[in-house]
């Protein structure tokens, strides 16, 4: 091995033994282009080399599943011949370097994943994590990321229907930007990415290729962030939603006409990964002539063309006689389309520059032969995360309530949602914050009923207890669906963790995946696909382990989807479900500056599922006026939220438990529901699940007598809850 090659492969993130394995597979040393391609294909981002073994624990079978992990997006059957494709993906490191473009291209990328399987994108949700809002850097990242998500989603005409954001110290240097997209398709129109048919043409569609995003998968996505991040800015891609809008409409028309044999988006690692994955799935080879790739700038080298992450590009395989038809449709949509290669029987990815072969690699070596590593998990002896700073000193329940409502994690998300279009497409039946899950009707697509979707993942709870914290995230997502009467069909996940080569991070990852697997099995919900984002660390240590889960469900009658807010004066308030409140690790404990615990209480998953079933059926039958799951902040905060969402007060008496702070603010995510309706409806629900009748809707304040004597005007609740406006100047 020559000295220069040795340093080069290490710079590209390959170990010496990985380099030796590459030489063995090639039966020679790789040239510069081949080394660049291998370094990307064998990066964590593309090869999942530290997570693949673990992910096999997750359930991937279910009665509604149409397309499971491995495709650009998974899909479930929602009846009437319709499929919903969906996936969540991270764009964390690019967003930490340049939040606007990082978040915008995160949305652009996940949209391409969904239309690559032949589905029209119909909704975006986002999951964001930043450092404490008191930090100027966090406010800068928040502002940029929200503007970037809005810019892309609004401009391309896909509604942003939901999302969540948390502010916690460990995300200060390493923010998280996860975007989820849902698409709709006729079942028979779903298309896979496997290249097929020797002699068929490989056509590159969309934007020209430039030097943006070179090495993004290895430089940004598979290494820790350091101090010289500004110098990584050229690795962040630039988004152009107009280009993607044309590409989207063009691809959907081509699919409708049955012009394409397969379709694949160009994401991380650009042409290298998209072409080798298509070839691998189709068990074929590909010849690509880089001299045919339309370029944005002159003098690009062959390896740069192969690894560029320029946005808004798709790769398809067509039969040669379909080329004219493809060109006609592309011209109509003003989309560039260039044949750049062909399918071969060689099972090799050959890169040509005109007549010269500049790279020649076995497809199997690129896609399947990256060594998989066993994690070496070890539980830390004590909590590794520092206690948050104490912000709240009052013991008065009314003051505690107002402080919680005003805290960045619980304040109204309206300043974010107002920057997104939630309506385009005319499917949105429940807008952001109107209900616990977004509800999208299917009638314009020839379907019946509606789908519901929610995204969740509280990293601080997972930091307290990776197993039960992850169980909670799954339960809470399912509880959100239950509130609108939807039955869960499938889940997508994005595992945002630190450096898996560190034993305590490996332990977090392993416990978290185990919790997710057990919760999903208990609920009978499969994973349809997802994404792993590791190495989310900086000088300050790892982020909170953050598995983000997005769940899609189906409901029969969108008109019956219960809102979160109280609706009717005189309605009875009930509190039901499987709820054992616990203060350590809660939002109140955070504001009080308490240490994170090292475990959370276990749950009886069968009982939780029974509670979800009961609420879902009551909502589906149209019996309840409102339903809201009791999540962060505990029961009193949930009541205040239902008052605010419905713009009506409530009187709560008697209180279900005795220990005031525990029952007012203790948490047990995903198990408890606050419902309202007629006394008869609430009594009927009580026959199905443990339920306490404890109040009445009405008035213009939130009143409780026992255990806490408080009376807070709606206007004061609203003012406290509106604190996030200040962050957007």
């Amino acid at each position: 091995m020559s000295a220069s090659t040795a340093s080069r492969h290490r710079e590209l993130g390959l170990t010496d033994s990985e380099y030796d394995l590459i030489c063995q597979k090639l039966e020679r040393e790789p040239n510069g282009l081949e080394l660049a391609v291998f370094s990307l294909m064998w990066s964590e981002h593309c090869a999942y080399k530290h997570s693949k073994k673990l992910l096999s624990r997750l359930p991937t079978e279910g009665p509604h599943l149409l397309m499971g992990p491995g495709e650009n997006a998974g899909a479930v059957d929602v009846g009437d011949g319709l499929a919903i494709a969906f996936k969540v993906e991270s764009h964390n490191h690019p967003s930490a370097v340049e939040p606007f473009q990082g978040a915008a291209t995160g949305v652009g990328g996940i949209l391409r994943d969904v239309f690559a399987v032949g589905a029209r994108p119909i909704a975006v949700l986002d999951s964001l994590r930043f450092g404490e809002l008191s930090s100027p850097r966090s406010r800068y990242l928040l502002d940029g990321a929200v503007a970037g998500i809005g810019h892309y989603g609004n401009s391309i005409g896909v509604p942003t229907v939901g999302g969540e954001v948390y502010f916690e110290g460990p995300y200060e240097q390493n923010c998280l930007v996860n975007a989820m997209c849902l698409g709709i398709a006729r079942k028979e129109r779903l298309i896979r990415s496997a290249a097929a048919g020797v002699g068929n043409l490989l056509v590159l569609m969309g934007a020209r290729t430039g030097r943006d995003g070179i090495g993004g998968a290895s430089v940004l996505a598979s290494a820790e962030l350091g101090e010289d991040d500004a110098s990584k800015r050229p690795s962040v891609q630039i988004g152009d939603p107009f280009e993607e809008k044309k590409l989207l409409e063009c691809c959907l028309e081509l699919l409708e006409r049955d012009t394409l044999r397969s379709l694949q988006d160009l994401g991380a690692a650009g042409l290298s990964s998209s072409s080798s994955e298509m070839a691998s799935k189709g068990e074929v080879g590909l010849d690509i002539d880089v001299s045919k790739v339309p370029l944005r700038e002159e003098g690009m080298e062959a390896f740069e063309i192969m690894v560029s992450e320029s946005q808004e590009r798709m790769l398809c395989v067509i039969e040669p006689q379909k080329l004219a038809e493809l060109e006609e449709v592309c011209e109509r949509w003003e989309v560039r389309a260039t044949p750049i290669g062909e399918v071969t029987g060689s099972r090799r990815l050959r890169v040509l520059e005109g007549d010269e072969v500049v790279g020649d690699m076995p497809v199997e070596a690129l896609v399947d032969d990256c060594p998989l590593y066993d994690l070496e998990p070890r539980a830390p002896e004590s909590q590794i995360y520092p206690a948050p700073e104490r912000m709240l000193f009052s013991e008065d329940p009314a003051e505690q309530l107002l402080a919680l409502l005003a805290s960045p994690n619980l304040s109204s998300r309206r300043p974010l949602f107002e920057q997104y279009d939630p309506l385009v497409g005319s499917r949105t039946v429940r807008r952001p914050q109107e209900a616990d899950a977004a509800v999208l009707q299917l009638s314009h697509d020839g379907g019946q009923g509606a789908i519901a979707v929610s995204i969740d993942g509280n990293g601080r709870r997972v930091a307290c207890d990776p197993y039960w914290g992850t169980v909670e995230a799954v339960l809470e997502c399912a509880a959100n669906l239950a509130c609108v009467g939807a039955e869960p069909l499938g889940l997508t996940n994005c595992l945002n963790f630190g450096n898996p080569e560190k034993p305590h991070v490996a332990w977090q990852l392993e416990r978290s995946v185990a919790g997710m697997a057990d919760a999903l099995e208990a609920l009978g919900v499969p994973v349809v696909g997802g994404n792993v984002s590791l190495y989310n660390e900086s000088g300050g240590g790892p982020i909170y382990p953050t598995p983000v889960v997005g769940m899609v469900g189906k409901l029969e009658d969108p008109a019956k989807a219960a809102p979160a807010g109280f609706q009717r004066e005189g309605d009875t308030i009930g509190f039901c479900g499987e709820f054992m409140p616990h203060l350590p690790g809660s939002e109140l404990a955070k504001l009080q500056g308490e240490e994170l615990p090292t475990e959370l209480p276990g749950r009886d998953l069968a009982k939780v599922r029974a509670a979800h079933d009961a609420v879902r059926e009551a909502v589906g039958a149209g019996e309840l006026s409102s339903a809201h799951d009791v999540a962060e902040g505990g029961l009193l905060v949930t009541i205040a939220e239902s008052c605010l969402a419905g713009d009506i007060g409530a009187t709560v008496d008697p209180w279900p438990g005795e220990d005031p702070a525990l029952w007012l603010f203790g948490e047990c995510p995903g198990g408890g529901f606050l419902v309202s309706g007629t006394r008869e409806a609430i009594d009927r629900l009580a026959e199905r699940t443990p339920l306490a009748v404890f109040g009445t809707v009405g008035g213009s304040s939130l009143r409780a007598r026992d255990p806490a004597d408080l009376d807070v005007a709606l206007a004061d609740l609203r003012e406290a809850n509106g604190s996030l406006h200040a962050a957007f100047g």
């Binding site: 503007a147 401009s155 005409g157 949602f417 997104y420 005319s426």
Partner: protein
Amino acid sequence: MRFGVVRFPGSCDEVDALLACRRFADAELLWHGDRDLGGVDVVVIPGGFSYGDYLRVGAIARFSPVMDAVSEFALAGGPVLGICNGFQVLCEAGLLPGALLPNAGRRFVFRQVEVEVVNADTPFTRSCTAGDVLSIPVKHGAGRYYAPEESLRELDAHGQIILRYRDGHNPNGSAREIAGVCNSDKNVMGLMPHPEHAVDPLTGPAGGACLFDSLVAHVGQLVAAA
């Protein structure tokens, strides 16, 4: 009675407008590259980001072939409704007075707003009564209506201000709380709120329905007269 909804590259709400129109009459999409409006009775220029709204909102779309036909149609008295980006395009095309500037808050804003019908004596509002309050959503980054003070006075005097944001509902800093205006012949109207997203009670308040109702009544009367 048939609506035609123009589709530019980058239009986003054209299918929404089509679905809304079809609740009231027939409707079809019109392609930006065609100069033929296919005999439609009303043209709707929908919301979105035509041609990416690069250069300036609405600035490129006005040069597309279909806009030549739309201009002729409008000059002959045909009713044209521009929604959001469509409003911006009609201003750029000179079919409506004034311009739409970036929102005063410098951010994209989605919000359910209340607008008041100022003039009910137009093809777009004849089914309403002056003073009616309509709840309709807005969603835009450049919706701040601007015109020189003198033309604002003229618009007011000639009844060309059709819709106004109610007190506290102006989402973008529009001059004189203007949400929708028409040309002096009152057959071309632009508005920033999205009436096509306010026709189905399942998805929200249906404050936009009266605009479509009005257009159907207007065309019906023209047909009856002819």
